[in-house]
Subunit: 120 residues, 2 copies
């Protein structure tokens, strides 16, 4: 995983923000370019790695696996691997991830509204 300089100003600010602003805290878990897209896909149910890849054609394998791992580390998704060949791995929301669904739906609903009311 990308290594991060422990004492960079940026890291310091990030920590501070996460402690001071609950919205920042959440953005750190579900924000960024790819996480919303992955989470959105998982909202319709468990998916295997290759399904996600196909569902999000523009994502690279590196990004997909990197963010899945992060979501796992944050306790939002669960990875289940069946020891068969070829491998069969599924990703799905954990209970904590499930509790995010209403939030994601609220976000998406606002997005749809704005989107239709002013074009892209």
């Amino acid at each position: 995983m990308t290594l991060v300089k422990e004492n960079s100003t940026w890291n310091f600010n990030k920590e501070l923000s996460m402690q001071a602003c609950p919205v920042s805290f959440v953005m750190n878990k579900i924000g960024g370019h790819w996480k919303p897209i992955i989470l959105y896909q998982l909202m319709s149910g468990a998916k295997r790695y290759s399904e996600l890849k196909r569902a999000i054609p523009t994502i690279t394998e590196k990004m997909l696996i990197q963010h899945l791992k992060q979501l796992q580390a944050d306790g939002l998704v669960i990875r289940t691997a069946e020891p068969v060949v070829p491998p069969h791995v599924i990703y799905q929301f954990s209970p904590r991830g499930e509790s995010l669904k209403p939030v994601l739906n609220a976000i998406a609903a606002w997005g749809y509204e704005q989107w239709s009311s002013d074009g892209i």
Copy 2:
């Protein structure tokens, strides 16, 4: 403002995502490192530039003004300047920004919940 290469892969993907995923669309408006923090401050009412600066001690003026401008451009905040010396400029939610409040509250609520249930 920062100029952006029109045809970069990243830009292309970003456009695609915003069209395909409503959550991404919203993240592009309110995500990133500083926007959530600024929006959170504005939720408690109109603030002048210097108040925001003091309320968010670790933000640089460059970041503050840059994101305020972006939020303005996205129609989420309104800037009002009184032509006095020293200048007096206030920033507040537009009606569209107001409509975001429930969403931000939902996000914050989830954040608080998670935060208390597993430490930072």
